[in-house]
Every structure is written in structure tokens, then in C-alpha cells.
Subunit: 450 residues, 4 copies
Amino acid sequence: MNQTEATASTLFDRTLAGLKGAVRGLIGGDILDPDPDLKKGDAERIRERLWACLEGTGGEVSARNRAADLGKAYLQLSQTGRRRYLTILATEFDRDPAAVEQAAAALAAAPPEDRAAAEDALRDALSAPRERLLRQFNTLADGVKFLVDLRYDLMRFAREDVALSGLEKDLKRLLASWFDVGFLELRRIDWNAPASLLEKLIDYEAVHAIQSWQDLKNRLDSDRRCYAFFHPSMPDEPLIFVEVALEAGLADSVHALLDEESPVGDPSRADTAVFYSISNAQRGLAGIAFGDFLIKRVVDDLRAELPNLKTFATLSPIPGFSRWLENNPDEAVETALAKPGWWEDPETAEAAKGPVLRAVARYLVHARRRGRAADPVAHFHLSNGARMERLNWLANVSEAGRAQSAGVMINYLYRSDMIEANHEAYKGEGRIAMSSAVRALAGKRENKTR
Amino acid sequence: MNQTEATASTLFDRTLAGLKGAVRGLIGGDILDPDPDLKKGDAERIRERLWACLEGTGGEVSARNRAADLGKAYLQLSQTGRRRYLTILATEFDRDPAAVEQAAAALAAAPPEDRAAAEDALRDALSAPRERLLRQFNTLADGVKFLVDLRYDLMRFAREDVALSGLEKDLKRLLASWFDVGFLELRRIDWNAPASLLEKLIDYEAVHAIQSWQDLKNRLDSDRRCYAFFHPSMPDEPLIFVEVALEAGLADSVHALLDEESPVGDPSRADTAVFYSISNAQRGLAGIAFGDFLIKRVVDDLRAELPNLKTFATLSPIPGFSRWLENNPDEAVETALAKPGWWEDPETAEAAKGPVLRAVARYLVHARRRGRAADPVAHFHLSNGARMERLNWLANVSEAGRAQSAGVMINYLYRSDMIEANHEAYKGEGRIAMSSAVRALAGKRENKTR
Amino acid sequence: MNQTEATASTLFDRTLAGLKGAVRGLIGGDILDPDPDLKKGDAERIRERLWACLEGTGGEVSARNRAADLGKAYLQLSQTGRRRYLTILATEFDRDPAAVEQAAAALAAAPPEDRAAAEDALRDALSAPRERLLRQFNTLADGVKFLVDLRYDLMRFAREDVALSGLEKDLKRLLASWFDVGFLELRRIDWNAPASLLEKLIDYEAVHAIQSWQDLKNRLDSDRRCYAFFHPSMPDEPLIFVEVALEAGLADSVHALLDEESPVGDPSRADTAVFYSISNAQRGLAGIAFGDFLIKRVVDDLRAELPNLKTFATLSPIPGFSRWLENNPDEAVETALAKPGWWEDPETAEAAKGPVLRAVARYLVHARRRGRAADPVAHFHLSNGARMERLNWLANVSEAGRAQSAGVMINYLYRSDMIEANHEAYKGEGRIAMSSAVRALAGKRENKTR
Amino acid sequence: MNQTEATASTLFDRTLAGLKGAVRGLIGGDILDPDPDLKKGDAERIRERLWACLEGTGGEVSARNRAADLGKAYLQLSQTGRRRYLTILATEFDRDPAAVEQAAAALAAAPPEDRAAAEDALRDALSAPRERLLRQFNTLADGVKFLVDLRYDLMRFAREDVALSGLEKDLKRLLASWFDVGFLELRRIDWNAPASLLEKLIDYEAVHAIQSWQDLKNRLDSDRRCYAFFHPSMPDEPLIFVEVALEAGLADSVHALLDEESPVGDPSRADTAVFYSISNAQRGLAGIAFGDFLIKRVVDDLRAELPNLKTFATLSPIPGFSRWLENNPDEAVETALAKPGWWEDPETAEAAKGPVLRAVARYLVHARRRGRAADPVAHFHLSNGARMERLNWLANVSEAGRAQSAGVMINYLYRSDMIEANHEAYKGEGRIAMSSAVRALAGKRENKTR
């Protein structure tokens, strides 16, 4: 958390530095330089400026420049100041209920030939003025990144302050429109990438933390691939990235994959691409999905580059198993895992293997939440049309790996000829595609799992 | 016209060529290859595919790939086929009136705490399914350009077929969001630009036609500047561009500006930047304005590069004068211009000068349409905060120049310290900023001009 | 000629413009601004500066800056001034005969262990001081281009003034070292290339003049290829370029190749690459050969891009035929070509075909100069290992084509499995590789051809 | 050393990897794949191939391809194999003494009009065939880097084997021609540079070792500058680089400069640029100087970017002091430095300051070797026209800093108005420019220092 907060604030600082001089020449009047906590008078000045922006006083260009100045002011505020600022934006620039009501009445009374116009008018009334203001912040030098980070602020504030959630939704809608996958650019990242970008991978990696620049270099070697989506307005910021190992056969352990001492393979001879880490890099884009597209674009790209690749699969964590186990106790598993160092002693580990793998398989296959697989990673890959292929014992025995899922990991398999059918079966009936091995481990569904 | 149509169709052909291979691997089923006129069965196939896209059968990625295929099919159609296609999209994927009514009723009945959600639901009901489909075409290799050109088709078809105007408005709204000025990139274009881009300037120039590559080269010489806005998703397509001459003093004739034999000036000594041509390059973006931003960004850029520049002004056509004159006859003017070759013989020209300039000034200053200046170019610059500075006699005596405005042109002056005030006065009260010379020529408003 | 001179001087002017401000801050004293004809006092100032450069007064950086200034001064001179300037450089900075003699004597007397050092010393004595000066001009902003153009000046002057030929040779040696093929970059040029570069192709094309930008665009279409070599220090200047048509079978007429109306072929289906024009672009690099490398690099590149290509051949002019015919009269040929419009009337043309083709074949195969093929284009391709494949009747009936070789052109064939053997046979014994058809036409060698 | 060897061999391995597939299609015969130690038969094969290259069998392109293959073979050899290989090249492709003698005799007998030709012929005879072979290795994919690394091999081997020194000199001459400063490109390096390049800075830094990526990032922060020279044929390899700190006033301690915790300054307010590290990156370019040019180009660049900079100076080590002190013992200094931890205890340090600074000043100013300053860093800066400005006590108390010069460092000052005069005085009379403070410390020259 602290790490995250630190990162986020560093990013803001960077953006702020980038803003020096961004507020261009034509602004009349004073530059805003408010008190960090946005004390009374300053809140009043912000309010006035927001109105001036909205009304376009002095023309559209001037309004935009004012918005840039308002955005810059926001970045200088404390958390308290920002919350006050956003509250002004959320409450005073909300939809006008009377206008909505009036437009709805007009629509109800409209003759057929005026109906379309009345619908448009109602729709306009339902679009809050704050939406227009949000859009204008885009004129900042790093305007899109500003809005993405602003949404992250809003998401946190809105958890405690429901008055902000409408504004948060407006911003999400705007960002979803701008981050349409058609606009995203897929880039391969290797050791020739800018250090400033690679540093961000180190910051943002969410699955298997990158320990050092040497660790990172190893992950970008010639038998590895790393791809990320970028947006043209944030060319230095990855949105989401995936790390891939080119292997002979399915990988069964993350330790082998990340071992800096292991020899570098010849990518042209690999037959399997293992997606072993996918990380979202922008918290402010939460809920705007492009992971599905990323995987499929990368598969296309790899297939074109390396025709020998036949199998595309993941080596994935099972983040929800341990929590599920607490609610669905299993004596055999608990006994097995209670032995200190169970994963280090071959005999003890061997004894634990059967019960644990069966429990994990039961969790993955039978645990549901609203008809969907309860495990979030499972749900993501199943929705994309993958199937559960193989459970791997002692695949990640780091402290985190043991805590999450007793060191077990799973391979999800992407077969292009089955993706559509798998997707439809899962989406429609909640039917999960799986190998016979996984099916055998999971057994029949016995009891209601939560 | 023919030229334009030809250009447009060439552009489509180019896009089509670019599409080869754009429809990526994961599509199931046959590739669409419809009859050009979209005869019955083919229309049915299109309809089915559109529904499949909308419902996301096979997952979001598959839906997108289907949309790309649908877009490709569109490009292969004749004008008849396209109109049929768009009619399906417009009418069968329109808003559902019943759903709108129901959502409106739910909002009317909603308790305060559910109001925001009910408003959101109504807004969703007011968003037609075809909007989602339009957005998905963005997955085409040149998806944004495709949609821009699609809108140009729609605008033409909608003139005769009101059923298409709702779809056209939806598309305009979508494009306006994507072409937010914050996303546009200002680029200077010179003789080192790709020939394929320069060729487009020759095609798109709308004010003073470019006669040859030599003429173009002259306009890109070291004492000239050309700037354009680009969108990151259409990197090879200018959206709007402006041509600027760096001069000593205000230019008074377009002939001098475009004379290929005139010596090249030293830009570092120029004190005046004359904007002598602004052309919109994308017909499909009509009504989505960025000319205002372009001028001001260019002024900033020039000021930074050439600190000696003190004056920023245009040399502009007066496109509406002659038509106005027909409705507001003026005997002195008519007599003067009736003489054959009036512009060539110094004496005759001198005799015509007074009456014509006064008539032009009256037109520019007093002719109004809904409170705004009737002349469209005047309205554009006045809205941006410019003022009418000087009328120029014999400034463009080409056939086109004489036909439009008896060879007269005008300088609009952009002074940064007056832009906001001019804009406000014009926008609020319709007050036009002008020099005393123009005021003297225009005289008082005498009669109602249409 | 005039055209060429004009081009050369334009290029100099461009370079001169580029030099503004190139002379950097650390130079002491006045900037040189000599009289164009380099009258007496100015010649003296140049002489002094050259000596100062050579002696490195003020350090190596200062000497370089002085050289840049001296280079700039050169560009401002008239032809007379330049010749005087170069004469100073050639005669006053020549080798010192006494020093050479002394070093040679020292070498003769050197004991074995000092021999290597004595050889080095003699070699240094044989290297004229002007060589070091030439090298220092490289510090100019476009220093390499400056030296290339300087050599062109020198070549012209040296024809009339043998005192300059030593300097010319020194410069050639220097340029040959710098333009080693290992440094050259092969670039494909298409319609997306900068207009300023394409304009140079129009200027430099030496085989089939480019008539217009439309003609050029046609030569860069998708069924054509154009490649050039560039040097990293002259990134905007092609050194040599080749134009290739992708065809089905050997091309037999340049008119078909250059016809702007002919349909665009599908390059992926072509089986033959026809090299129909190779032009050296830098006169100052005459005698420094890279045409051979260009062809072979382009063959490699095309083969990788288009695996369907099986045949690589030229469609080449025969520039020396008509002159040879004057010295080796042939009544049948003369009679046939004496008929006005012989190439237009099918019957007359058919009658001329036999005698003319036989005479051309005799010329190509039997006419020799110092054991080599007398035709310069033939010599170039034979040296590269190509073979004479086919003569083409009415292949170029433009005025130039008729004047050179009665409209006949020839295909030289490059077959990778025969290149080495062909090259060796031609280089060693002067044996010419040819198809049986060409052999049949040429017949046995009858008479001594000059 | 080990580190260096490791680096060098890693670089070779990289180059080797880059060579895969570089040997292009047209080579006839087998690819060389010799025994690492180049046992007898393989040495014979190499010898034959070298001769084939030289004679251009099969044409110039084939010869080049053979050379590329020969270069690739070299990279696969052990140290023993390489030495054998180079010995073949050095001894069997050396100048022919008989030919030299004959050419010298011909020159002696030449009449005046044939003299120039005879001189040229003698010069050719003095150019060994191996020079031409070296040049041909340039066709390798990374040919220039190959030759640079080859020279490093040669320099090491030649130390023990004088037979190789002629070849080494030939290669040096060739590289000096190719690495003419006119060809070098100055690039600023910051945190956005490729990680693969920054990693090389870490490897190559020779003055103050870079401890970590964080240390490097700190040296590339906004109040720092790093510049390097690059050659277009080795775009990923810095040749020499300099690190600069932008400060208020002269820096007096390297610890403050490298402190990662110190706040980032505002570069636009700095008045002094401190060059605190200059490292040559290519051992194979030893003796080919461009440090002087680098400093002056960087000064120009900084002056243009930051007009507030008034002072350009170094903070430099004094590498030769301790060795000098051994030969020129000074009791006071020895006593002072004999106290353990003398640099940590303020009182002891203060007591040592006077004697040590005086001794250092004496060394710098009076110790000479062949009339030049004995200290190599001093000689470098004095040759460039800098002056000795200030000695700094406790400026580098790292173990290395104490070992070299008792922790003392010196500022050399670059004043553009004095550079030429300083350079001339030093070069001519050996007169050293210095501040009065340094002069006072150094005192008069008392005794002969070696």
C-alpha cells in the first residue's frame, strides 16, 4: 500500500514537473496558486474559475487554457484540498433535476416527427456539466494521464463519500471512450527500451515482484517476451503488460522461469509460449478491460514471429484458494500444511500433494460467485475462452505463493479453435472448460461452496 | 466537385487496399464478400452479423473482429449498397422507444436515493445500440479514418433521407469525443515532408488551389510556414492546415504571396505573419471545430521561433459578397464592374475602387444572419477574437477572386491583448471589432440587409 | 550540361545556406569574407589561415574551427576564385621533395631492426600536408558533402591544369576511404520519402529522364522498387540509386515500363525483377565504385521480401553503338535506318530488325578496348558477373534511344550460381558470358574493331 | 582487470551473436568453422582465404563476403588461435621490401614530370596488403566495432610480440581516419536512454565507479548532464562520455556531487558546470583523441541551453601524486598521512591540510616529463587550454581517492577567452596557466622532479 501510494504520488510529482510552462500564453488574469487545503477563499476562486471555463468566457481556447490552470492547481493540493475540489465539481456541476424533468415531459408530449429531437434534448439534460469540464482538463500537457490519476483519487474518495460516485462514473465513461482498444498500440519491450519505462515495469509488476535490474534484464532476454499496450496520449506509460517465456513444453514452476542462472534458450526452437505475469499498470483505469485483447494480440504477434510455437498457455496464480479454504475446511489439507517446512522436505511434500491438489481443483472448478468461477484469475481466463489445463505442485513456494494457494499454480490453455466455444459455454451456462486431469482431481460437486 | 468525388473515392480505395489482411486470425466462419448493391440475401447476412457483433457472441475480441469484417464489406459496396447498409444500421439498431418510456417512468417514480441510478439507466436507454456498433468499427486497421469517411457518406445520404440523420448525429458525437483538441498534434510541414502527405495538401487546399509541385514548394520555402493538426490514429492524414507567409508588414495581395519568382525573404527579419489559407481536409469532420485552436497554437509556435514577429493577421477571401450584392444591388458598383477588364486598366480600376470597397465594407460589417456576421469567413475570425483591419483592392484578381468579391480581400488582425474582449463583444452583443479605416468605409447601417 | 551545372550550383547554394551559423563560437579573429575572385590580398589571407590550420595554432579544436571558416570562404568564391584557392592548396602544401629524398636515404641505410620505422617515416613524408587540411574541412556542418562537391570542382579544373591533379588524387583517396561500402546504408525509397529527396531523384536520374512528379510516383508504385545507397554523413543525399520493375518475364521495352497508364501489377506474383535504371548521383564520387554492391544488396533484399522472384536482370541501354557504327560502317544498317520514321512503320521496322540486331550484337560482343568490352554499360555488368541475355528490338524509340543504339536495348542476366565464374572468365581472359541467341546474332569475330 | 576482460569478452559474444546470418548469400564454398586454437590445417585454410580476399577472386562483392566469413571465424577463436591468426596477417601480408626498394630507386631516377607518379608508386609500395584486408572486415554486420575490438586484442598481443606492432599501427591509422571528429555525433544521455546503453555507462565509467542503477539515475537527474560521442557505424556504443553537474559555484567535493540524498537543483539557476568524470569507453581506440572536442562541444551545448552558466570547470583527480611522492619524499606529508583515520578526525585533517596541499601543488606545477606536466590528467586539460584553478581538501576520501592523491582534487577552469593563449603558452614553452592561489601553494621550483 505504502509503496503504491508512494508510487502514485511520485507520478503526480512527475506530472506536476511536466506542467511547468504548460499553461500557455493567452490566459488572462492571475495564475491559480491555491492553499494546499483549499481554504475558504480559495475554494471560492476555484468555483468561479470552473464556471468561467464552462461558459467559455473569452472563447473556447481561453476556456481550455483556464482548465489547464485549474488542473495544475489541483495537483498542488493536499488530499484534503483535492477532496474539497472534487466535491465542488461533483455537486455544483451535477445534472439539473428540473431540466431533466422538463425534458422528460417534453419527450412524453412530443409528436412522432419531433421525437428524435426530444430524445436528444433529454439525453443532453442527463449529461452533467462536470463532464464537459473533465474533458477540458485534457488540454494539460499530460492531460490524459492527469485524468487517469484523477480517477484513482476519485475512486478512493468515493469509497467514503457517495457524493463523489456520480463524478467518478462520469469520468470512467469518458476514459472508457478514449481508451477504446482500437486506439491502443501494442509494443514489445526489451532491454533496449528506455530505462525510465523499464523502471515503471519494476514499479507496476503485480504478480511476481521484480527484485532488481538484473532480474528484469533476465525477464527481457532473447528467450522471453514482454508486451504492453500504450495509448498515444500517454506514450511513456504502459497500460497493461504481460511477460512471456518461450519454452519447450508447459512450464510447471515459476522458480525455474525466474532463475537468473538458468541458460538462455533458443526462441526459434520453443514450442510453447507461457504467459506467466499480467499486470495492470494504471489504477485509474480499473474496470476498463483490455487484458483479453492484449493476450490475443500477443498470441498473433508471437505466432507470426515464431512459427514453431504450437501451445499458448499461462502459468497463473490461484489468489482465492486460501481464503476459500478457511470457509471450507479440509482436515487432510490442514494437517498436511501444518507441518513446518512441508514444501522443503520431499517426503512430507509428497504426502501433501494429493489432498492439496484435490482441494485446489475443487475450489477452482466448483467454487462459484453469481454463477461465475469464484477465483478472479480463473474467471478472467475462462471468460477469454481458455481452459484449465494442469495444476502444478510446488510451483511457487515463495512465502506469498504458499500463503495464497499452498504453492500450487495452474496452466490455462488458449487454443484458437476452442476459444469461441469455451467462451460461449462459460458465459451462457457457466460451464468451465477443463482437461480430464483437472476434472479427475476436482471430482463431482458435493457441497455448496460459497 | 468531380475532383472532390474522385479524391474521396481514391481515398476509400486506398483504405480498402490497406485493409487487406487487416481482418485478423480469430474470426470464425466465412469472410463477408457481399454483392455491391447489397441485394436481399446479402442484406440479411449483414443484419445477422451486426446483431452478432452487438451481442458479443464468442467474446469481445471476436465481436471486434466481426466488426472489422463488416467494415471491410462496407467498403466494397456501391453507393446504393452503402445506403442500404446504413439504413439497416440506422433503423434496426435505433433506440427502443418502449425502453426509453419505461426508464423515464422509473425515474419519475424514483426515491431521491435511487435517482442517480435511474438517471443513468434512462441515459443508457437513450444511447442507441448502433452507437456501440460504430465504436467497434474502430478495430479496422484504419478504423478512425474509416469512420470519418463513413460520416461523409452519411452526411450526403442524410440530406435526402432523414431516417439516416440520427445515425449521422451519433457518429458526429462519437467523432467529436475522439477528436478532442487535447489529442491533436500540431506539426509543421515543410519540403522534407513525405511526398504522399504533400500530395494531400495539393488535393485538400480549398482557398487558393495549388497549381503544381513547384507552387507547393514555393509555399513551403524558408520564408513560409505550413502547419497542420493530426490525430494519432490517422498519422498520415492532415485534419486542417494553415499556410503562413512571413512578411514585412501586412500583405495586400495574394498574387505577390504566391508569385514563384519573388525572392525568398529572411524569416528572422519578418515582423508580420500572414495567414493566407486555412483548409479543412476531412469532409467527414464537418462541424467539429479546431480552426480556432490551430491559429492560436501556430501563433504561439511562431512567436517562440521568431521573436521579431509583432503582427499576426490573415489575408482572407470574402466569399459571400457577390451573392449579397445580387440581393442588395448597388448601381455604382455594378457600373464599375461591368466594364470589361476593369481590373487590368489602371484608370478604370481606380474609378471602381471607391464604390466597391465601400460596398464590401458595408457587407462585411452590416450584413447579418441571426445576429452574426453573414460572411462565413468573417464570422469565423470574429468569433475567434480577431478584428477587421484593412480591405485590399485588387488583392485577388483571378477569375475566382473577381467572381467572389470583385477581387477584394481583407486582413483580420489577431492581437493577443484584445482577443478575449473582441470575442466577448461579438459573442454577446454581436459587436464587430474593426479598425477606423474599415469603419469609415462601412459607414452607418442604413438598411436592413438580409 | 546547363542543367547539371545549375543543379550543382544549387546544391552549393543549399550547402552555403546550411552553413550559416555553422562556424562555432571559439574562433578568434575575423570571419573570412573574401573577394569572390580572391584578389591578391585575400589570397594572402587564405594562405596564412591555411598555415595556421595546419600548425594547429591554439589547439586542435581551434584549427578545426578555422578550417570550417576556410571552407565557408571557399563556397563564396567565383570559379576564378576557387581555382586560385585550390592552386594555393595544391602547390604550397604539396610534399616536400627534399624531405622525401632524405627519408628514402634513411630507409636505404636503416639496419633491419629500424626498417619498419624508416618505412613509416618515408610514408609520412609522402603524405602531403594538404591531405591533413582536406580532412579538417570535415568539421563543416555538411563537411563530407562539401568535400564531395570540392572534388567535382577539382576534377573539372584539373582537366586544364595539371598542377591540381595531385590534390585531386589526394582527395579521391580520402573519399574512397570514407565511402567504404561497409559504411553505406541501403534504403528503399517510396512515395512516402521526403519530397526534398524525391526531387533529387528527378535531378539525378541519368538513364531515363523523369518527366514529372506523376512519372516519378508511377516509378515508386507498389509493383516497382527504388533503392539507394546513403552515407551517414550525407543522410539526405543519395549516392547511387536503382529503379526496378517487378514483372512477369523479362521486360522488352522501356515504353511499357514507364507507361503511367499501364495497370499496377501484384508484386507478390512477379517472377522477374528488371533493373531498368542505375544512376550515380554524386559527380564528386566518380571513380569510387559501389554499383556492383548496390545490385547485389538489392537482389538479396528483393529475394527476402518476394520469394517468388526467380530472375534478376536488367533492361539496359547500349550507349556506344552509334559511335562505333560510324567507325565500322555497315551498309545494310545505314540503309535501313535512313528511311524516315523507320521505327513507326511496321514493315520498314521489320526489314531493319535483322541487320540492326546483328550489328548491335557484333558491337557488344566483339568491340573491345584494352581487352574489355568497349561498351561501358556492358563492361560494368560483365565485370559484375552478369551475362548478355537478349537483345530487344524497338525497346526504346525515343529520340535519345534511337540516337544511341537504333532503339535496341539489352537484358543482362544475373544468376547467382554463375556470377563468380562469369566474373573470373571475363576478368581473366576477357571471355564474355552470353546466351546462345546473342551468340548466334553476333557471329564470329571478323575484323578488328576499335 | 578481470572485470574488464569479462566485459570485453561479453562484447565479443554479443557481436558474435549479431553475426548469425550476416554472412550473406553469394559466398561459394564452405563456411569457415576453425578449431579454436587454429591448429595447423586450419591456419592453412585461413591463409588461403586471406589470399583469395586480397586477390578479389570472384569479384569485389565475393571478396567482401569472404572477409566477413574470415572475421566471423576470428571471433570463434581462443586467445591462442587469435594470436596465430593475427601473426599470419601481420607477417605474410606485410610490405614487400624488394618492391619498396625498387620503387625508391625509380623515384630517385624519375625526371621531374614523372616525379609525382613515382612518389605515388612508392607510397603504394609502402602500404602493406594487410591494410586492404583490415578494411574489408568492415563488411561484417558490426564491422567497425569488430575492428575496434580487434585493435584491443592487437595492443595486448603486441606488448609481448613485436611482430604484431606493424599491423597494430596500420589498424590504428585506419581507425583514426574513420573516427575523424567530423563524423562523431554528440548525444545527450538521460534516464530515457535505452537500458542497454546505460548498462554500458556502468561498465565503462572509469573515474568514479557507478555503484547501482539508483546511483546512475541520480547522475542523470535534471540538474546533471551526461554527453557522449558516437560513431554512426557503432550507434549503440559510446566512444567517450562526460558527466556534468550544474551547480552554484565550483564543486569542492565529489561526495556531495554523488550523494543520492542531496536535493535536485534547478538547472536554470545554476551558474557553474562541473565536469566531474570523463571516461573513454573503447579500449581499442586508445591514442585516438577526441576528449578535447567533447569538452568544447558540450560547453557550446550547455551555453546554448542554459544561458545563466558562466563558469565551466572540472573537478578532477590527480592520479600521479602518490607515486610521485614516493620518489620525492616529504616528511611533513608522510607524518600527517600516517595517522590512522587522518581524514575523519577534523583536527588531524586540519593539521595535514597545509603540508599536503602544498605538496600536491608542487607536484602538479613543477613535476614534468619531457617538458609536459607529469600528471596525465593535468597534461590533458592544460593542453586543451584550461588553467589550474583550485585545490580541494578532503574532496575524495574514498579508499581510491586517498590512495591516489591523499583525497585532494583539483578544479581546472575553462575560460573561452583564455583557452587559445593558455594552449599556446603550454604547448610552446610548457608554461602552465594557474590561479594565484595555486601559484602561492606551489611556490618556486626548488629541485629537479622526475
